[in-house]
């Protein structure tokens, strides 16, 4: 397909859709589906059919609408309806063009929706993820074909560099720099592009949502990357626990291939690019790039020391570009609208937007995309709606199990890579867990440490044994069995594990402990010296002497 053909198909599709006076978008991403949104969609379609409205009102399944806590969520033109049941279908159709019933109604003006700025998720909740036409109508694949026809690979990289985009997988490495490194590497004719979709942080579902809601976006980003760095094979490594994402991704790849947007001679150029899906078996460590590549190669998913970096020697020893789902999802808009446009969003060093999975003790849980630089307070209280049931805020945990806990006094810090690092946490892939004062910070640290311990791949000693030792010490503390020496040992272990572990999992595993020790040391001391849990969460062992023996 040439650029002209693509634009024509986009125009046709848009025209077709414009014929409808009303559009009802029903979320069919995993969250709402599990709440029965498929039945809601069927009921609405039946209702539309029955009333002979099928030429004026379209009901379409779309990706995530964001506010997962009140699913099934649907959008009736510009208004949202929450907790919709199939029985509501009639009423909703009755009020088409009018404001939905109060019980269901959610205003698009509410801060949760209004304060978001969507780039990555711009199509989520708007297009039907199972139809390539819908994606094309939303300017899909224009960036790819434009790049192939009008730009040199170097120009593509320049655009990405200018955008200031940084890796969304967690570490925030400048994407343009990574691309240019891979582009310069000599692969002897073979290079790879890998999309890391092995999202493993507990409570995080940004990548899943993107894949379920807008799979073509990722494919397009990867193809552009392939063109830029000189690779013609791509892999998407998705965890097997995401069946819906996998299914839509596979469908999207087939559609793109049929449309000539993947495969040989894309868009009539000499550029070939194919994508294969690889499934991960649920090991957290396989999100680490070298472990992920080992897994694709059919080996035990364990990281290896870097250097050499994947850009130099990656998959099968060839130069490999590996980016995360969200990073790839940013590429098409950057090419379409220019790096400068993207660079104008966000802060000086953190450009663009970031998707967060908001969870925990917060009113509005779900997926949000906000410009970099918004304060944590804005995210938690404005967008998130604050703590439910009149509870008091205690901390917000960012960055998943490798992240840290940020206390109330830093709520006005802007959300960007540098600020979070300064606070002892990380941006990570975008998990954000809000905690009310009923949470015991030692217990929280213990929870994350347990995760890291069980997910440690077992290759290097500091992570394998260090996390187990730290977990043991934290358990002792929560049981009221620990001594001041135990606390000292815990701190020494944090330092050692951070500085000596082989990969990011181990290096960041101490973060939840160090950050809670930094901001909530008094809680640790209360458990140790006072044998009490200030939050009332931990049960102290009655007779420590007995327990020890």
């Amino acid at each position: 397909m040439t650029l002209e053909e693509l634009l024509q198909r986009a125009a046709e599709e848009r025209e077709k859709q414009a014929a409808f006076r009303h559009t009802i978008r029903v979320c069919v991403a995993a969250g709402c589906l599990s709440a029965g949104s498929d039945k809601v969609k069927a009921a609405l379609q039946a209702e539309v059919e029955a009333r002979g409205l099928k030429h004026t009102c379209q009901v379409k399944g779309v990706g995530c609408l964001g506010l997962c806590s009140v699913g099934p969520l649907i959008a009736v033109d510009d208004a949202y309806c929450r907790n919709v049941t199939p029985e509501d279908a009639g009423g909703i159709i009755d009020r088409l063009g009018d404001r939905p019933a109060e019980r269901l109604y959610l205003s698009a003006e509410m801060p949760f929706f209004a304060r978001q700025q969507k780039i990555v998720l711009e199509n989520s909740g708007r297009i039907d993820p199972e139809r390539i036409e819908d994606y094309i109508a939303a300017d899909g694949y224009q960036a790819l074909l434009y790049a192939l026809h009008e730009m040199t690979p170097a120009e593509v990289i320049r655009e990405v560099t200018e955008s200031g985009l940084r890796g969304r997988g967690g570490a925030g490495y400048p994407t343009g720099l990574k691309w240019s490194t891979v582009a310069k590497a000599d692969g002897g004719g073979q290079k790879y592009v890998i999309c890391n979709a092995d999202e493993g942080d507990p409570g995080a579902f940004m990548d899943r949502s993107v894949l379920e809601s807008d799979p073509h976006r990722v494919i397009e980003g990867m193809a552009i990357a392939g063109y830029a760095v000189g690779a013609n094979r791509g892999f998407i490594y998705v965890r097997a626990e995401y069946p819906l994402a996998i299914q839509r991704l596979r469908a999207a790849i087939r559609q793109a291939e049929r449309a000539g947007l993947l495969g040989n001679e894309i868009g009539g150029t000499t550029f070939d690019f194919s994508i294969a899906v690889r499934l991960g078996a649920g090991a957290f460590v396989c999100g680490e790039e070298t472990a992920l590549m080992a897994s694709i190669e059919g080996k035990r998913g364990q990281p290896r020391p870097r250097p050499p970096y994947p850009a130099e020697s990656g998959l099968y020893g060839k130069p490999t570009l590996i980016n995360n789902v969200e990073t790839f999802a940013n590429i098409a808009p950057i090419i379409r609208k220019g790096g400068a446009w993207f660079a104008a969003i966000g802060t000086e060093k953190s450009k663009g937007t970031k998707v967060f999975a908001l969870a925990g003790d917060v009113q509005n849980t779900g997926l949000v995309e906000v410009p970099m630089g918004l304060t944590l307070r804005d995210v938690v209280f404005d967008i998130g709606g604050g703590i439910p049931n009149g509870g008091r805020f205690k901390a917000v945990q960012t960055g998943g199990p490798s992240g840290g806990c940020v206390p109330e006094q830093y709520l006005d810090m802007p959300v960007d890579y540098e600020s979070l690092t300064k606070l002892g946490s990380i941006m990570g892939s975008g998990g954000m867990i809000v905690m009310a004062d009923t949470a015991c910070m030692v217990d929280v640290a213990r929870y994350f440490m347990e995760f890291c311990m069980t997910e440690s791949c077992g290759k290097c000693v500091p992570c394998r044994v260090g996390t187990a030792q730290m977990y043991g010490l934290l358990t002792r503390i929560t049981k009221g069995l620990a001594t001041a020496e135990d606390l000292q040992l815990l701190e020494d272990l944090c330092d050692m594990v951070r500085n000596t572990s082989l990969c990011g999992l181990g290096q960041s595993a101490p973060n939840p402990v160090s950050s809670t020790l930094r901001y909530f040391r008094d809680e640790y001391l209360a458990h140790i010296a006072g044998r009490t849990c200030p939050a009332g969460k931990c049960e102290m062992v009655a007779d420590p002497e007995k327990e020890v023996a």
């Binding site: 090991a283 020391p305 000693v461 394998r464 044994v465 040992l489 272990l493």
Partner: protein
Amino acid sequence: MANQNVKIVTLVIDGKDVSAQQGQTIMQVAREAGIYIPYMCHVEGLSNIGACRLCLVEVQGQRRLLPACTTEVAEGMVVTTNNERLRKYRQMIVEMMFAERNHVCAVCVSNGHCELQRVAQKLGVTHVRMPYLHPKLPFDASHERFILDHDRCILCTRCVRVCDEIEGAHTWDVRGRGTESRVIIDLDQPWGTSESCTGCGKCVNVCPTGALAEKGRATAEMTKKRQFLPYLTIMREEDWA
């Protein structure tokens, strides 16, 4: 030699100016210069995996500590192999190795010939600060000539590598994650039932501790012979054409 045009680089290790061939690791160059860097997963003749973290060194300009066994030297590199911080980390790592399984040196077949013991001695590890994890582990004595004692295993995976890279049998592998990791034979079956094992004993001889030993050896009787390894490696690398 295969390559006549070896590029020479100069670098500084512990304040000492040394020259090296490009492609050598810090570990190799340091050893040539008479500088001891402790290690456990490394063994000359096998691939390096940088897993034990004992050989971590400081390289000027690098934020992170780098494993000497996998890091190649570079022109102008300034390396510190031993200081207060590195000693502290190494001691803790050795302590963790001891605390992870059930090491009872006094009755171990490798007592006195054990690399773990030796490294502990060298690093001045006299005690283990952290609680012992005391896992319940099986003992595989099903093989006719060898035993696998998980209590003494430190998961260095030398056995896995020597079997794969030198013997070519790939009988050994690792299963499980974290502290549940265990070296296994074939698909985790008793050694005696393995059909891929050639019984060559290379794994036993590269094992640094008493985890793999010849059957029937009494306390302190197990010594390992490792001369075969550099020999085989050199023979295979030699360009016979």
